[in-house]
């Protein structure tokens, strides 16, 4: 693994770093909004992977001249991954919006957006249910 290999794949290294950072945020942060942010970083890493993949060395923007006289020597960058990622970006925005909307609703219902506090509330609810229904089932639940 020499220097040129490292430089030649710099977009992948950045992709890996960004992806892992995103995942780490999702795993490590207890704040629900921060988790969404982590998720966003994670997705952005993928956008980067795709977009950098479409780049062809020495290629120009894939726009045809208006007279449609195309020089066969011209190298174009592959536009397809870019187009794909446009869709993925839309998906990402939708996910973020929905996620944040859920966070708002959770804040309304639980009064907090810290995961450990929410879990504690839910654990209490579950224990209470088990107590009630466990007894009702003759302790066999």
């Amino acid at each position: 693994m020499d220097w040129s290999f490292f430089v030649g794949h710099v977009n992948y290294w950045l992709f890996v770093v960004l992806m892992m950072t995103g995942l780490y945020v999702v795993v490590a942060k207890g704040n629900l909004v921060k988790k969404i942010v982590g998720l966003n970083m994670f997705q952005t890493a993928v956008f980067m992977l795709y977009i950098s993949m479409g780049k062809v060395h020495g290629g120009t923007a894939p726009i045809f001249p208006t007279d449609m006289k195309i020089d066969p020597a011209t190298v174009y960058t592959n536009p397809l991954p870019h187009v794909l990622i446009l869709t993925a970006i839309v998906v990402g925005i939708a996910t973020t919006a929905l996620g944040l909307a859920l966070v708002v609703r959770i804040r309304e219902e639980y009064g907090t957006i810290e995961e450990d506090e929410i879990l504690e509330i839910e654990q209490d609810m579950a224990s209470e249910e088990n107590r009630i229904h466990g007894q009702a089932m003759g302790g066999r639940a």
């Binding site: 992977l49 062809v56 993925a88 859920l102 009630i132």
Partner: protein, 523 residues
């Protein structure tokens, strides 16, 4: 650089069936929102769209049940550049299941949604439901790998929304939806990373074309990594055992109709995608696949069969119990898959279908009980077998099918699965399948006992007819497909053969196939 338009003559409506399958529910979704005011209308539009989709899927299945496939080119753009819808026995069978279940769940949903979701949200609910439905159909029908991702996200996003709609009854629906959103997004993103890696190596996204181009470079690490990403990403959607953690809460706190629909379809679609990629895109002969299945999927499948069943036994909530039972049943499907032989695949396919209808009966039954008893805890549904004889009897049928009692659909799939294990010579696995069925006996007996052998906890009327009728149609389907295996086994066997024969390649050779050498697109 337009590709040539393939068809000069106008297509008949019949030729347009593949796109109609998708377009009908898709267009119905905004329509529901526009007319939203009267919920009866919203429901009616959703139901009609679903019914139409069901009819279309039946027509499609009839065309491909004996083998062969239909290829539909969106906008007349030829694959691999254009998006192709490719229908063979495998996905036609699944389309049939999805639209069938939806058509049965919607009549049930009418009363259930009225009781469980605030009135102002109901039109939005049906919109999301239709989007989810259309998304699932889209994932199944398309022959384009990236298209799978797009539809997957459409169905997922709407799924998060309709799960969260259960918050009117229990606020934990919100956290369930949030968890599912985080997990689902990561899963889908893994999937799309896998696609990116594949695209990098092949320069194409059409499944048939992908298969042709992957075949010569199976030793490539990038291809192998792509496989790992796709398996894990889809595994999350399937709820493979350690990745199942989103499922119990999502199923438990979602509105009853949503649970019935999702349990019968969503995970099944994910299994389908895994099958499609494992067999049609990557070909079944790849050594790395075999190892993945034998060393990772198989142990977790068996673990799921037992651990999830044990959890199910100890539950206090019937709905949650059924959710865990679903995880166990997914274990059976993955087991069939990891056998990697024709009968194993047939078992997976037939179990997809049979478990789909079985769970539809049970979750609809739970929905009806919840409507009358207020919750699905064992304590509140005690003795309801006497108050709601029709619903309870149908649930017993579903329970028998879940166990795999002869004469029910569940028996057929387990029978085929055990046979497949024998065929492979995996006697211990066959033994484990039977053993885990005994656990199913325990948890099914628990709810049957609760329903029948206790003094009723409350007075309640039988569920409304709009619920009882779809429940019973599905219950009878459980029995029918347990006795008459013509449709299911033929379709499953054809599907297994189709999958095992690997990719069929592109529908029509196109100049683009040769014009784009593999790997060129990645600098």
């Amino acid at each position: 650089m337009a590709t040539e338009s393939v068809h000069d003559v106008a297509l008949t409506l019949h030729d347009q069936l593949p796109i109609l399958q998708l377009v009908v529910p898709f267009l119905a979704a905004p329509l529901v929102m526009v007319v939203g005011a009267g919920r009866g209308v919203a429901w009616l539009i959703a139901f009609l769209a679903s019914l139409a989709a069901f009819a279309i899927s039946a027509l499609l299945l009839a065309q491909v049940i004996d083998g062969g496939f239909l290829s539909y080119q969106i906008g007349g753009w030829a694959p691999p550049l254009g998006i192709e819808y490719r229908i063979d026995a495998v996905n036609a069978f699944l389309l049939f299941l999805i639209s069938g279940v939806s058509t049965l769940v919607l009549p049930f949903a009418y009363e259930s949604v009225k009781a469980e979701i605030a009135e102002r949200n109901q039109a939005l609910f049906y919109t999301c439901y239709l989007l989810c439905f259309a998304g699932l159909l889209g994932v199944t029908i398309t022959g384009d790998a990236f298209n799978v991702f797009v539809f997957l996200e459409i169905s997922s996003l709407s799924t998060y929304a309709i799960i969260a709609a259960g918050a009117d009854r229990d606020r934990r629906a919100l956290t369930a939806a949030y968890d599912y959103l985080v997990m689902g997004t990561i899963g889908a993103t893994f999937f799309v990373i896998g696609l990116g890696l594949l695209y990098m190596m092949t320069g194409t996204l059409n499944m048939g074309d992908l298969a042709d181009r992957i075949a010569p470079q199976t030793d490539n690490r990038t291809i192998q990594a792509a496989f790992a990403f796709i398996v894990v990403g889809m595994g999350l959607k399937i709820a493979i055992y350690p990745l199942h953690l989103w499922l119990p809460n999502a199923y438990t706190y979602a509105p009853s109709a949503v649970t019935a629909f999702l349990a019968a379809t969503a995970t099944k679609v994910a299994v389908y995608v895994l099958l499609r990629f494992s067999f049609s895109v990557f070909s079944p002969g790849f050594a790395f696949e075999n190892y993945t299945y034998e060393l990772i999927i198989l142990p977790f499948a068996i673990l799921a069969m037992f651990a999830a069943s044990f959890i199910a036994i100890f539950q206090t909530d019937l709905k949650r119990m059924l959710a865990y039972s679903s995880i166990a049943q997914i274990g059976y499907m993955l087991l069939g898959l990891s056998l990697m032989n024709a009968s194993g695949l047939a078992a997976t396919m037939v179990h997809l279908f049979n478990h789909g209808i079985t769970k539809a009966v049970l979750f609809m039954g739970v929905g009806a009980l919840t409507l009358r008893a207020g919750s699905s805890f064992y304590a509140s549904i005690r003795g309801m077998g006497r108050a709601m004889p029709l619903t309870a009897a149908a649930m017993v049928v579903g329970g028998l099918s879940l166990i795999g009692v002869p004469g029910t659909a569940g028996f057929i799939s387990k029978w085929v699965l055990v046979q497949a294990a024998f065929e492979k010579g995996w006697w211990p696995v066959a033994f484990l399948i039977v053993l885990s069925s005994l656990l199913a006996v325990v948890y099914v007996w628990r709810f049957v006992e609760t329903l029948y052998l206790h003094e009723p906890a409350r007075d309640a009327a039988e569920a409304p007819l709009t619920m009882v009728v779809p429940i019973w149609i599905t219950a009878l389907a459980c029995v029918w497909f347990g006795i008459n295996t013509d449709i299911t086994m033929t379709a499953a066997n054809t599907a297994a053969e189709t999958l095992l024969s690997g990719s069929t390649g592109l529908a029509e050779p196109s100049p683009w196939t040769s014009a784009l050498p593999a790997g060129e697109a990645s600098h």
